[in-house]
Symmetry: C5
């Protein structure tokens, strides 16, 4: 079977097994075969098979689970998704769950997916839920010469985590922009109703936090080198990822706190604007009721009111009204009321 | 005694001992007998008796307590209920208390019950408080072939906890729907008074938290395999339950934080609406007081007011009032005041 | 000396030494003697003397302190009261301080007292501050056959703590009722100013918390069996008390959080009511200023105003005013403004 | 040199070395000499020299530093002040920094000073910053027979800490009075602007907390007996101080929380008062605009208005106005609007 | 090459390698040579080379990285900047990242930079990002006789950290001034809109906190002497820095809390001012509507109104209006309404 045809069979979206290959000393030496067959050929120290799956059903994963002797509880978790990030050991197999995040520009929303990894000494099974072909491109990058592959299955774990956390960083950068926009909006002179937007952003941040925070513990176990089956030399690489994750966590916390402060400031702005409005209204009212009083005075029926007989009494009264209104206006402006 | 009649005697609601049977190698081999008798026949390694009771009085439990040598303090706790979730050891017997939760649709309320388990190496005594026959169906499920039963009493503990935590998940899903509804209501344009509903939901969430949080410690002890009398192989199963519980706890925390934010947003909405109302009121007032001023002017008693003598003076004045009001309206709309 | 006379001498309020007796194998074998004399007769293993004092002055306690070799710093603490709950060891003597709480119905207030216990291997000295004769009734109960007394001085400690914590439970139940009342008041349609009451309740809860929280550590040391001089078998009893205390602490925390939410809801209610008032006021104003405008119009002095000459012009104008007001009213009601 | 003259030389304010003496078995046996000379005579086990300094410059302390071989970094800290409370070991010398607090009645303000102690096995050097001669009186008290002096330098440490913490207690009692006053003011019917006062008090409390909280760790090390050079028998004394400090910390925390609640209550009061004012204003307005409407009606120019011709039409109109206003007033009162 | 010329080549801004020298026993013995050459001459125990770089590109640092065998991940971190403060070990090399802070007066803003240090047993490579030549002056100071240099590379680490933390102290002092200004502004009688300024300051404080808090852990490791390659005798010096850092952290926390309280006070002030405005407006309105009512009364058309015929009826009416207004004014003032 030519490589092209086989690539065609394996490499399109929608297939359950996205890719499957045998790696030796950091190079892909055979691909797109039957996982079980490939595993049998992984005879040398450091050889391993990497099976990549996308949203498999319980039936579709059954074969692979049998081949690599995966624990039923872990398989169930991998199939149903909606897990928390975690690292568990079932016999000789590690089970790692990661949440993936990406930012959808059109909706200003953060979407979440999930990646589950089964790691044995001679295999990696990755199960992805959600959009995109991130794992495939990760694999391509790795095959293109990344030294991580020479670290065996642990190298794959590193490469996947690195990519996932890099996406967290990208998402957080978008959130920073959103917070900046809200900030500008809150302190603008325009009447903006920012509470809904702040609320939505806080909810998204909570979602990011739920993906990020529980991952720290698994990562720290990799950093400490306390995970069997992952070589010690990989520790600095995991430390690098842990560092990025810590920065993401810190930024997310600080964005959340900033949003709370922005919300309070928003409330203060509403109050200040209400006060300004009240002053404008009262000033406007004064401009009308004072002339009304004058009109009322000249509407009195006293027999002896000299102004009433003046030839220019009427224009005089109108002028009096206008100048009273104008005088009030100047007074309001000067006194700082407006 | 035929099985049907015996089932009749044991299996209806209201009886204190709901069921009682002897299990061997994962199968029910004898049921509905006297607990003491059954225990004597539990002679092989792994045999155990499971006695299920529902809201027994102190007298009604006395026999069973004597048969299995239960500690008086634990028995008192099991009878009076209103305990915190906890795991305690009395001599060779474990005593586990769980809170059960269920959601009552009609009242949008979370109800709580309680399950107490006494676990010895050859027996389980379960005491349930509150509605439903969940334990009975749990037992039926187990008997229908669940591998957990082969883990002995520890398997029963797992099965009960699994079921209880699954109900937590169901309750939390209902709470998520409630929070979504509140969110929609808060940000709708309609005047809604959401504070009472948010308050009630926060109180329910606090109740869920009181059931969920203290259970983590007992569960972790099962996961760590540090509980005598529960086999090591059961650890992954308990880890699975612990994982669900962690997710429940996380979701509950995040719902609570979200509700607080929603409450703040609600306050902001009230302020914004008050401001909007104030502007509407002031605009409406302007539409009346300005014509009133005009009427006042033409009500003045000056001798020389040309308009008063005009044939169409009256309609002119009315028109002036109308156009003043109309002009103000347009002004308010254009300037963004309304 | 007959028992009746001796009881008379010892057993009334106001005496400093409320009671003093020698206990052997759980029974009071001699009472109302001189503490020193009694102690000398406590020759058998498990014998102990229990001296109960009420608000002694430094002089009044001096004798007892000498008899049982109590540390001056502990004696000072016991005499002055106003200590935090604590458990300290001075040589072979334990020094335990508890806060007592009770609820005064007339004032809806929580009052606090204090009990200090000196515990040696053959004696207990209890010093009580504040109202009531709780310790005496506790002693009577114990003497009436409680098995705790057979645990020696540790049993007395248990009995006293159990009683004190039971009173905490009672106080907390009263607080729950208070919070329920506040809740009802906040969400009632009536204008209630609940902030003062919420404030007072929060202050009381803080007081309860100061009594309850520091007691957890001493209790846990009893539960862990790490306190010399208290027998291991007593641990389950202390665990029972610790459990009640944990429940009190949890409830108090959750009441406090609930009150904070209730306060926020109260603020929201005030805002909503203000808004409602503003709408009512503006509607009321409209009902008056619109007829005023009409009156102003018919008060204009135009020569040609046909209505002025109508026979029924005046009633027509009044009718116009009334129907304008009525129309506005209907409009306000229909549009949801009122 | 007679004692009187020497006392003159040493014992006035402003001198850098306030006092300097040699102590043996709890008694001052020689004083006001050269620190180096005195130290040489401290030959017996338990002998020690206590040098007391007040705000020395770097030059002024240089001699003493050389005599007792004090570490330059610690000396710098002692001279510049503005340190956090801390306990550090430099070789065989302990370095302890305490914040002193006192309440200035005139300004309702808490002032802070600082005491640094160098403790060796045969000397104590105390350096004080800020007002008062507390250390001198502490020394006098000690010399007047306090058993603490027999504990050597550790006893001096205890005596100084005891006095400092006692002052904390005094300061906190003043703060409690301040909070009580604010409480009364917030809930009084008078319009009070308490926010500034609450703010200032919160700032003072934060200052107290900065002095108190970091001291707990050093104190606990003394209590645990883990500080070399301080005898074990002194532990109960330090435990006593630690207890007072814990009470101070608890009270300060609870005052802070109380002030936050008082602030919220203050905000609620402002809102309630604003609402009350709005109702008063609207009622007042109604009392004027309704008569204005009546005046407007009788100012209409209809030809046929019977009342206009009545002899008592005018008083009738005035009466109508008055009774309308009076009726409204009664209505407002009865309906609970006012 | 004369020292002057070499200084010229090395010592201007913009060069990547700002300085490079060999140190022996605390003295600079050779400078401005090739780093590799210098390192070879560092043959005696305690000799070390210090290379100072400023914002090097990946290419520019490559040579130095090769010479000192720096780990690629650390080099990448040093070049890209935007790291969190951290201390990591790569083989025999320590990698330390610090954030630098400085206050820009013109903008009232805190700017951040970064310093990365590679520390080996015979070299220090410092990489600085951001403005200023702080490290160069630090080096000059050290060379001018600071004893820290005799502690080898660890001494350089101390000197750099000391300087960085001193700048934190300076920044915090500026922030204290800002908070004081806001405080004055919030409680001034003038209408100030402080929410934007408080928001900005809170954001700056969050930035400072992100620089300061993660540094505590690395520093504590130096203090504990648990960092290989840094001599034990340096511990007191690091403890000194740690102490300053702790003070910075404490002050920053307490400024943040103070700003939150100031914000709440600001909200209260807005409410109080709104209430004051409402009272002023209502009083002003009363001064106009009451005379309007009087005018309305004398505008009534009753035939029998004696005042209308009075010679001085008109001035009487005007006087009545004026005295009504004046009386109201006095009433408002006396009753405390204004």
């Amino acid at each position: 079977m030519s490589a092209t045809v086989s690539a065609y069979l394996w490499d399109y979206r929608g297939r359950v097994i996205v890719d499957c290959a045998l790696y030796r000393e950091g190079s892909r030496i055979e691909g797109h075969g039957d996982p079980g067959e490939l595993r049998k050929r992984a005879t040398e120290e450091g050889d391993f098979v990497w099976v990549g799956m996308h949203e498999p059903s319980e039936d579709e994963i059954a074969d692979v689970a049998r081949t690599f002797d995966l624990h039923p509880l872990a398989v169930e978790d991998a199939v149903t998704a909606h897990q928390r990030p975690k690292l568990e050991r079932y016999g000789h197999t590690l089970f790692l769950v990661l949440k993936t995040l990406w930012y959808v520009d059109e909706q200003d929303a953060v979407e979440t997916g999930e990646i589950a990894l089964f790691i044995g000494h001679d295999f990696v099974v990755s199960v992805r839920h959600g959009l995109g072909n991130e794992l495939h491109s990760a694999r391509t990058d790795l095959e293109a010469g990344h030294q991580a592959l020479t670290h065996g299955p642990g190298g794959v774990v590193y490469a996947v985590m690195d990519r996932v956390v890099d996406e967290y960083v990208a998402v957080v950068e978008e959130l920073i922009i959103d917070v900046d926009e809200i900030e500008t909006s809150v302190f603008s002179d325009q009447r903006t109703n920012d509470s809904a937007r702040i609320y939505v952003l806080k909810r998204e941040i909570a979602e990011v936090r739920r993906a990020v925070l529980p991952l720290r513990d698994p990562l720290n176990r990799f950093v400490a080198g306390s995970v069997d089956g992952v070589r010690e030399e990989a520790a600095p690489f995991f430390r690098d990822v842990a560092d990025h994750l810590a920065r993401v966590a810190e930024t997310v916390d600080s964005l959340d706190a900033l949003l709370s402060t922005a919300f309070d400031a928003h409330l203060a702005q509403i109050s200040v604007q209400q006060n300004d409005d009240m002053r404008k209204i009262s000033a406007g009212a004064a401009l009308i009721v004072v002339p009304t009083l004058i009109a009322g005075i000249y509407g009195m029926n006293f027999e002896h009111m000299p102004e009433l007989g003046w030839t220019y009494g009427y224009p005089f009264a109108i002028l009096l009204m206008a100048s009273a209104a104008g005088g009030l206006w100047v007074l309001f402006k000067r006194s700082g009321w407006l």
